[in-house]
Amino acid sequence: MRAAVTALHLETRDVADGGVEFLLRGELTLATAQTAWPKVVQRATDLPEGALRRIDLTSVERLDGAGAAALLALRARTSTPARPVELAGARPEALQMLQLYGCPSQHQCLKGEPQQMPILEQVGREVLGLRAGFVEIVDALGQLCVAIARAVRRPGSVAWRDVPQLMERAGADAVPIILLINFLVGFIIALQSADQLRQFGASIFLADLMGISLTRELAGLMTAIIVAGRSGAAYAAELGTMRVNEEIDALRSLGLDPLRQLVLPRVVALTAVVPLLTFLAMVIGALGGMLVAVTSLDLTPTMFATRLQAAIRPLDVVEGLTKSGVFAAAITFISCHRGLTTRGGAAGVGRSTTGAVVTILFHLIALDAVMSTLFNLLR
């Protein structure tokens, strides 16, 4: 059992030429330093420069590594080239500890101050980082195109065997959540619109509103957001973990292209299942709207369905499904790219996953805006 800890005490003594000597008494250890040491440092800091001449350690009963480091740092901070502070009277064990933690030069005893970067430099670095990020994305897209070309030339080099399982995970397993969310979205939009339409005697147009908004925009976008959260995050985490575990390097060392082994099967699987999920989302969203129409607007299911059929044009469905295919490709590309460029262990995998989902969400909205504009020009 350890003996009771003796607290650290400081006495000061004036010496010749206006100098001061510190006399430490007790234990200078991690335990005692927490309370007493800041006072010692404060006393030393309050003295004029070069006034502290000597720290007497004769009465220091115990000195551990933390105490030695603190003592050496204090000496480094208070010493001047003309008047170095002397550590005197240390007992053999304490002297051994001081030698163990000793620094070749005074400067090396002190941790460097964190450098504050000027704001202009920070802005410059951020801009350069954006440029580097853009170049990286273009490079990754180029590599993907090369991989697609090589896959066309040698279809056997793609891991097609993984595609059915990936489709099941991203598609079939996502059906319940897609149905639930899109039903509720349809229901909520119909509920919010029903009152307004009733006031103008335009209740029947709820079907038009639901049909157009679901097919052109909402079903595709909501499905893509859910897929980004489920499959996008999973792809980034999965590939990121493979990257930090050197599995990607292992693939390359076996002569296998990670893009054709890991990325292309995911692109194919997601691009195939997301439009199907989107179609389901369109149907279930319309059913959510129909429920409101029947319960709140006194419309019959037949009236709603007939009006819905009249409102939706084939191009609306094509628009929704085309968008969902593009969304799927973007989700896979961004999440796989983030995963394959992961650095820094478990924390890096976490950063890649979060970064992938945020980047995907931004790009989904941006792509939606671009494609909506293009389809509007077509109409």
Partner: protein, 252 residues
């Protein structure tokens, strides 16, 4: 197996400068790895051993210089060709979602036209060779670190390469497992004629199996010694080499 070049040189490295982001950590390396030898890349921590191995295996592109394996330059790395070597990584780098058998079978599925049952038999034989018979249906997470390293060697041997790269194969292993691994490498080298290049700083292992070596130094940014490790231990006049081989701390 590929035939060794006439001069018996399996790997020829000339003027190789390697590093990260254009900043060299090793400069102007020149060395040859002879066929059927066990070549050790050694040096202190952080001197660039593993980085050199990554360049030799084509996982990183050098800043300058050339690497030839069996007379064929490796940069840019050839596309859609089975590699003429096997690589075993420091951590094993087994595919975590595949069983040991599936890990070893993967290169066979990709690069041979063998029917599935034959691939499984070959993969199983590789696992038995490294002492992992009976563990073929285990996932990498279900076996010990030493077993993962052996499984990684089995995967590296899958395509019957005559050149094997190993990154710190015995690091973190108990002495008995470490000796067993050395014995396995010696067997592969002597019985199958596999040229082995390994990165390590395990002195016992170096003296037990190494036939040739280069020693890298972080401050010198290059090779400070080369030759038979046993001879270097006794004959080298370079204090850095002497300290390394005799486990002497700096200043001793």
């Amino acid at each position: 197996m590929q035939p060794a070049p006439q001069d018996g040189v399996k790997i020829r490295v000339r003027g190789l400068t390697i590093g990260y982001g254009g900043v060299p950590i090793l400069r102007d390396l020149d060395f040859d790895v002879h066929s059927r030898g066990i070549f050790v890349i050694l040096g202190g921590s952080g001197c660039g051993k593993s980085t050199l191995l990554r360049h030799l295996t084509g996982l990183q592109t050098p800043i300058a210089g050339s690497i030839e394996i069996a007379g064929v330059t490796r940069f840019p790395p050839p596309v859609d060709e089975p590699p003429p070597f096997g690589v075993s990584f420091q951590t094993g780098a087994l595919f975590g979602s595949r069983t040991l058998l599936e890990n070893v079978a993967l290169p066979l599925q990709k690069w041979t036209g063998l029917p599935a049952p034959d691939i499984d038999n070959v993969a199983f034989a590789r696992l038995r060779l490294v002492g992992l018979g009976g563990f073929e249906n285990h996932l990498p997470a279900e076996i010990s670190g030493g077993m993962r390293k052996r499984a990684s060697i089995a995967r590296a041997l899958a395509l019957e390469p005559d050149l094997l790269f190993l990154d710190e194969p015995s690091a973190g292993l108990d002495p008995i497992t470490s000796v067993e691994l050395d014995d396995l490498l010696t067997t592969l080298n002597r019985s199958l004629g596999v040229t082995i290049v390994l990165v390590t700083h395990e002195l016992e292992s170096i003296f037990r199996i190494g036939t040739d070596c280069i020693m890298l130094d972080r401050d010198a940014l290059g090779i400070i010694a080369r030759g038979d490790p046993r001879e270097l231990r006794t004959d080298s006049s370079d204090p850095r080499v002497h300290r390394f081989f005799n486990r002497l701390p700096a200043g001793a």
